[in-house]
C-alpha cells in the first residue's frame, strides 16, 4: 500500500490493557484536509461517535487518534472527559483546533477510558517515528486475526490520485449505515460536502451490506480524509472532472475493506455472498438478504457444508418482506435447487456439495416478484464463534 501525501502515521503504547503491543494510533493530516464520516445508528452510541457526528459537519480534520482495547462506550461524563482531554492534547501538540482532532475507541464497553494512560499514549505518539499502514492496521485491531487494509487509485485528468484504507472488526458486526472502525485516506482534492455524499453512497453498497453476527456496535465509525496533495483540480460535485473515477475508486476500496471484515468474522471458515433478485424493491431485497445472512440456521448449515435450502426458505419467510412461496427460487454456486416454489426435479446435489466444500460460497435467491436486487456478504457460524465469545470479555 502506497503512502498518501499529507498523511503521517504513528503508533504508540498507551497500555489500555495488559498487553505488549501498540494500542494507540495517530494519523496527522495536513492543513486543508477534507473530512467525511458515517457512524453507527445505535441508540447507545459512544461519546466518540457523538462528537464525531458534530465534527464531520465542519468537513475539516487535522488528526485522528484510535484507541484499542477500550471502547469508552457507556461511560457517561467520565468517558466524554477522556475524549476531550485527548482532543486538547493533540491540538496543542500539532497546533490546530481541538475540534479538528477525531477520536475513535474500540474494545470493552462500560469502562471509562483511563485518562492517565491516554495522556501517556498521546505523548508517546507525538514523539514517535512515522510508520506504515501495516503497523497502523495492527494497532487499531482487537479480536482481529489479521491486519486489514486496501488501496485504490483513479485518474483525474492527468493526475493520478491514491486511496488507502485500514479497518478493524470481526465480531459485533451488523452495520446500520456504518460499521466498525474504518479509515480511508486519499491525496485527492475533494470538497468535504461531496466527499460525504460519496462516502455515504459507497457505505450503502459496502459496510451496510455485511454482517457477522447481527449485533451492532456502539462505536461503528468510518471516516474518509482527503489531503488534496495530489494536485488535481478540486472535485466539488458530479460535474467536476474525475468525479466518476474517484467515486468508483472509493466504492472499490470501501467494498474491499468491508469484505475483509467478513473474511475475518469471528470463527468464520467460509465467506458467503448472498444475491437476492426479483424483490419488490432494492431495499426489500437488501432486507431479505440480510435476514438470510443473519439466520443462525442458514449459517450453521453452510458451516456444515449442507445445501440446506429449506432453511433459506425459512429465512425468506421470516423477513417480513413481500414474498410468494410459490415463486421462490434458490441456487447454491449457480445450481438451482428450487424453482418457482418447488424442489427442482432433476436436482443434482453433487456439484453443490463440491461448491460448499470451498471457502467461497455463493447463494442466490430469486423472489420472482419484481426487479429489486441486492448483494450482501457474511460468514458461517461455527464453534469458533462460540469459543471466542463465551470466553472473551469484549
Amino acid at each position: 500500500m502506497p503512502p498518501i501525501t499529507g498523511v503521517t502515521l504513528r503508533v504508540a503504547r498507551a497500555r489500555y490493557k495488559e498487553w505488549d503491543r501498540c494500542d494507540l494510533t495517530f494519523a496527522e493530516l495536513c492543513e486543508g484536509t477534507s473530512l467525511a464520516g458515517v457512524f453507527t445508528q445505535s441508540a447507545c452510541a459512544s461519546s466518540e461517535v457523538e462528537l464525531g457526528r458534530e465534527q464531520v459537519k465542519s468537513g475539516k480534520a487535522r488528526a485522528l487518534i484510535v484507541n484499542a482495547g477500550n471502547s469508552n462506550a457507556f461511560t457517561g461524563y467520565r468517558g466524554r472527559e477522556a475524549v476531550e482531554q485527548i482532543m486538547a492534547q493533540v491540538a496543542q501538540g500539532i497546533g490546530c483546533e481541538p475540534s479538528e482532532v477525531l477520536v475513535s475507541s474500540t474494545g470493552v464497553i462500560g469502562v471509562p477510558l483511563p485518562k492517565d494512560r491516554a495522556e501517556e499514549g498521546v505523548t508517546n505518539a507525538l514523539a514517535a517515528e512515522p510508520c506504515g499502514w501495516k503497523d497502523a492496521a495492527n494497532a487499531i485491531a482487537t479480536t482481529d486475526t489479521f491486519a486489514k487494509g486496501a488501496c485504490a487509485s483513479a485518474m483525474i485528468g492527468d493526475t493520478k490520485v491514491h486511496l488507502a484504507g485500514i479497518i478493524k472488526g470481526s465480531g459485533m458486526i451488523a452495520p446500520d449505515m456504518a460499521t466498525m472502525l474504518g479509515y480511508i485516506f486519499t491525496d485527492a482534492n475533494v470538497a468535504p460536502g461531496f466527499l460525504q455524499d460519496l462516502l455515504s453512497s459507497a457505505n450503502g453498497d459496502s459496510f451496510s451490506c455485511i454482517t457477522v453476527d447481527g449485533d451492532t456496535s456502539t462505536s461503528d465509525t468510518v471516516l474518509a480524509f482527503a489531503t488534496g496533495k495530489a494536485g488535481n483540480g478540486r472535485i466539488e460535485d458530479w460535474d467536476s472532472p474525475g468525479a466518476d473515477a474517484f467515486a468508483a475508486a472509493l466504492n472499490d476500496i470501501c467494498r474491499e475493506l468491508a469484505q475483509l471484515v467478513v473474511r475475518d468474522g469471528e470463527g468464520a471458515s467460509k465467506f458467503i455472498t448472498i444475491r437476492v433478485s426479483g424483490a419488490a424493491s432494492d431495499s426489500s431485497a437488501h432486507r431479505v438478504a440480510m435476514t438470510i445472512a443473519n439466520s443462525p440456521l442458514v449459517k450453521t448449515a453452510i458451516a456444515g457444508e449442507d445445501a440446506n435450502w429449506g432453511r433459506v426458505v425459512m429465512a425468506v419467510g421470516k423477513a417480513g418482506e413481500p414474498a410468494d412461496r410459490d415463486k421462490l427460487s434458490i441456487a447454491f454456486g449457480g445450481v438451482w435447487a428450487a424453482r418457482d416454489g418447488l424442489p427442482v426435479e432433476d436436482y443434482d446435489e453433487a456439484p453443490v456439495a463440491e461448491h460448499l466444500k470451498g471457502q467461497e460460497v455463493e447463494l442466490a435467491v430469486d423472489l420472482g416478484l419484481g426487479n429489486g436486487r441486492a448483494t450482501v456478504w457474511t460468514c458461517d457460524l461455527t464453534h469458533g464463534y462460540i469459543s471466542i465469545n463465551a470466553d472473551y470479555r469484549s
Copy 2:
C-alpha cells in the same frame, strides 16, 4: 397429566424417516368440539398452516393429525395434495367432514410428504389402541430431547374443568404471533370465537415471548380444542361465569408449554428470563427484550457465565426503539451492575458471578423512559447449538 374427556389419543408408525419410532399422532375429538388456533406469520408458510387458518374460521374440529420428520413446507401442489389426502382418509375413517380434520407436519423443509407413507400411517393410527399424553408428546417431537406437556384446571361454578397440552420444538424458535407445534385440549364448554380470543391473548404473553435462535418456522401452529364434556355452562364471553378462571388456566398452560420449549432450546445450558421496564410502551419493551434475547453476543456471554452487561447495552442500542444511554440500568440476578448510564461504583461482581453459574439466569433492564414493560424467555448459545445444526438436515 389427566385424560381430557372427549379426546382419544393414538400414535402410529408412518416411517417418514428411517427411524424406529411412532411419527404420526392422531387425536380424535368428540362432536361439538370448539377449535381455535394461532399460526406462524411466515410469508413461506406450509400448506398445513394455510389450510389450518381457513379451518379455524369454522371453529369446529373432530380430529388432529401430526406428522413428524417432514414439515411438508415448500412442496407446492404436491404437498397440498398429501394434506388433503390425509384429511379425506381420516374423515372417512371416523365419519366427519374433511374440513374438520386438522393436520400439522414438522421436520425437513422441501420434501413433499410421501402420500403412500401417510396413508399407511393413518391406517395404522385409525386401528391403534388409545394411548396417553406422553406417547403423543414423544410422537410429535423431532430434535426435542424430552417430551413436553403441561396441565391446568379451573373451577367454573361448581364444575372443575381440565386443560392438557403438548408441544414440540427446540430450534427454529422465534414465534411471530404463534410458534412451533403446540396442542391444548380441554373438557370445558367454550364457544369457538371466545376460545380464539383467549388463545390469541394467551399467545401474546407466552409463545410470542420466547426465542431460541431468532429463526421463525414455516410451520408454527398452536391449536386449542374444547370438547365441552366437563358439563359447565357454556363460556361465551367475558360475562360468562368462570370466564376469568378459564382464561387464567389457559394462560398458565400456554406459558408453561412455551417455557418448556426454551428449556429444551438446541444446545441450551441455561434458561434466561429477561425483564425490560421503563420503556416507552409495552410493545417497545417487548422489542427491546427480544433484541437482547436474540443477540448472539449476549447469549454467548451467558453461556460463558460472564456478566458482560456491555453486550446488553449494545443490544439495547441496536433495537431501534426509544432508549437513552444515560438513563439505562442493567441488573443480573437482582444486582444492579449499571445505573443511569454509568457502571455502579461499588458494584460487587461476586454474587452476580455466583448467579450466572446457575441454570436459571435473570436479566433486568430498565430504560428509565416510561412505564412500558415486558418479559421474555430465551436460552444461551453454546457449542451444542452449532453441533446440532451444522450436522442435522432439518
